[in-house]
Symmetry: C4
């Protein structure tokens, strides 16, 4: 977690550019994080293409999506997506709204998105679908009114991803890096599901598999490994070197033996990495990674 609000703005701007660099965002879409010191506020970029967002583009809003300081630039018109979800879901601290190419066929067709591989379980066991037509009839499809945002938040319910008919998807996370992981791997899951559909047999994870695999993916270890990769790919693309501050921080985090306190599999890692070449014993299912 960032130490200061300045760090938070930098981390959020980097997340915009990572998700864009991985092909999920183009000129549109946006990411927010809740204020770590004030749950009634959140941060979101001014209206700018995600791949270009920098720390000083980040604005602060209250949960009614009104700016704290009068902005001299244009805000995103769909910011109520963020404000209304932060209101409805106290456990959510980061939100991404996007139109990823791999998600669009599901948003257009209404065919349910289901987890089809272990990393795809980051999306959860299923993803509800929201159709603006149901409550609001013909609109321009953007979510700009508070009641539209609230309706979307209700459709999201307790889930991690909500598919928006003829529009895109919105993804939520407990923190920013978890959100990025879930956003990228739920999009990859959609890509694989479509291709399996072409072969004629989509065979999803069982609820038990989805539950266990989902917890695993978002554990500190895999998250730190994946984040180092995305940070480095972005730095390479932007011509920053390996000695870039952000790259070095991500590298150090991924190198730590125990990147987090509540890491599933932490005990197991410690045990099997002990020196004496002790025979690794079978351990109870679902306890480690």
């Amino acid at each position: 977690m960032p130490d200061t609000l300045a760090d938070l703005r930098r981390a959020l701007a980097e997340a915009y550019r990572i998700v864009a660099n991985e092909g999920i965002l183009d000129a549109f879409g946006h990411i927010s994080v809740r204020h770590p010191g004030n749950p009634n506020r959140y941060f979101l970029s001014r209206s700018r293409a995600p791949g270009l967002v920098q720390a000083d583009d980040i604005l602060e809003y209250d949960l009614d999506s009104s700016p704290i300081v009068p902005p001299v630039t244009r805000p995103y018109s769909e910011r109520v997506i963020h404000g209304e979800i932060f209101k409805a879901r106290p456990d959510v601290n980061a939100v991404c709204h996007h139109h990823a190419p791999s998600i669009m066929p599901f948003a257009i067709s209404g065919v349910p998105l289901v987890p089809v591989f272990h990393l795809g379980a980051a999306m959860g066991q299923s993803a509800p679908v929201w159709d603006s037509r149901d409550e609001f009839g013909d609109t321009n499809l953007l979510v700009v009114k508070p009641e539209e945002g609230a309706s979307l938040a209700r459709a999201l319910g307790k889930y991690a991803v909500v598919v928006m008919r003829r529009h895109g998807a919105t993804v939520v996370g407990g923190e920013l890096r978890e959100l990025v992981f879930r956003t990228l791997y739920s999009a990859k899951n959609a890509e694989h599901q479509l291709a399996a559909h072409v072969l004629g047999h989509v065979s999803p994870l069982t609820p038990g598999e989805a539950e266990m695999a989902g917890q695993l993916n978002l554990a500190p270890g895999p998250l730190a490994r994946a984040y180092e990769y995305w940070v480095r790919r972005l730095a390479d693309k932007e011509g920053r070197g390996k000695s870039d501050t952000s790259v070095r921080a991500a590298e150090a985090a991924a190198r730590r033996p125990n990147p987090g306190a509540a890491v599933p599999g932490k005990a197991s890692v410690t045990k099997t990495s002990g020196a004496k070449k002790a025979k690794a014993k079978p351990k109870p299912k679902g306890k480690k990674r």
Copy 2:
């Protein structure tokens, strides 16, 4: 809008390279703009691959597609597409003819292209299809004779995109950046429509949704945001820096709170970005973005 004809030539050449850089144009295809001071003339590059076009490649034509100054280079053979559409459609000031990979399956199969997501509504509610065989029988499929161009313009009618069987598509716009937006997002719409077709359920926008979403996409705000993104991607690809004149101009345009006079949603933006954290009130449907 460019201040001088020199600026216009630069903007047009940049549009060629943007549309090529985004994968819509390869060695073929072309873009024109009507002369801002003389509606009976238009500008078009000499016969050159779009990704390479520079300001001094731009030639001037009358609406019969005859050059104003005898060119010392080769012209595009299909320039009547532009001249005949400018004749038939006084509201059109920019035209793009292309063979985008995502459009080709529709051009080959004749399956109608329909708007399937909000940004895709930039294509309009539907796109007519023109088949050179209907009037001209077997040809080499190029549109080179004035009567062929006139026939295509009739097929286009009042629409924004016309699909050309076994050939490609032609897209029109009120101004150059609108044309670029419509060209790129109608191609993306085609990509998504094909993928949704694979899932078995293509569910288009209603006429009302297509109308409202279409107006919204081409409003000054979204247009400026998207254009900054495309200009920057091109500058990055061409090794020009952030301090490039064109990049800085696009950045400044996207930063302005009110990029245009008649911006839908302008009032709304002003209201909800007011400082006092006033509760945003529901507003009438379809009025803002």
Copy 3:
């Protein structure tokens, strides 16, 4: 056409790297040209990945595919493809054998490749299929024996492209740049045909359209335009600048008003580019481009 054999070797090596840079060749596949001064000899690289081939990798062979000078490097094992086709087809002066991703589904399935858009007509009206099993039963699928090469050449017959079951394709041309154009656009045709198949309606060009469009595509004007584009893309990828010799030569060729003597549409271009803004008159069908 290159002036000297040294130029020819450079042009051939560049063609290898162009076709690789456009995604048609990977670690495998090869291109040959007939010796301009001795029809019983041809040039082919030593066994090397096409994207890496340089002028000094080019070896000289007789039509039995034996090297003229004992090579100190490994030759391609499938060089009889080239030798046997040069024997059977005096009109052919360049040959490309490849496993392009877009061609493979047709090579695997045996579904006939047909021209589906004007540029795809570069493949001709149809492409015969050769199956090594028919004459040779189970083999390792490579074409290494003279009788295998001769069998493939018979299957090619008078056509421009032959699809090889469970293997790839071989493409021929009257000269090197024509071969490159045909190779790239027949692969693109395959990509579009597959996508149209997904939509359920593949509607090919009529024989008349294929004939006229095919002639047009390979005329000097379009060829010079496309070649400048591919040469420049390769130079950009290889970090050579715009002032690179090869780039400047391609640029000059594409700029010339009449890049060749027998250019279809040459008269037409001259006429409509005359200065006086004379009304362009309808001209007889199929005569120009």
Copy 4:
């Protein structure tokens, strides 16, 4: 083969980055090699995204997948995949576990992967499928317990590729470069098989063809050619020049007329590359390449 263990670590790290650079590995997946001097040990990176792995990330394990030296970094949790396969298959000296996008539709649907073109024969005549559910019921789908690794090794049996339901695939090889070739071309085979499925006719190689083509692909000549290509593409991407040590070594290996002792086709190459332009004679089927 590398001369020293330091060379081996460098070669293994390069293989990680090659397979990542070719799009088969992203933030996840891993590659191991058996210790050339001690068949009871193997080398594997610490838990790091493959595209970032360097020589000093490589750790040493025994076949129970316990580290030889207590690591100060995190290990991969799925290392038993490697240890258990090295136990069960003395002929295997390199293992790659991955989730390649082209393999996933087969892993999800359970549709059998079959060799569909000559280079795809590197996968062998068929690939068994392992489903963690069969023996272990609901899990998080990772292979972390010794008995899970042993079960996967049993499913692999004598084959070269095992598809893992709702997870990915594991590929084995006699040595590292063979493994890389098999990994990349079995993934490409899957891509082509899916596309041929779309056309409605998947026609696999016969067992005889698969046997002969498979042997051929992994012969020293083609292997050296392909490896030079992948090494160079990686060096280009990483900004290392042509004079890079690794690039020069791969270039020299690919240039040698006889890159290995037991090269199929070696005799044939020598014979047909003899100087005197002797007429190449037909030779017995299946003996050369």
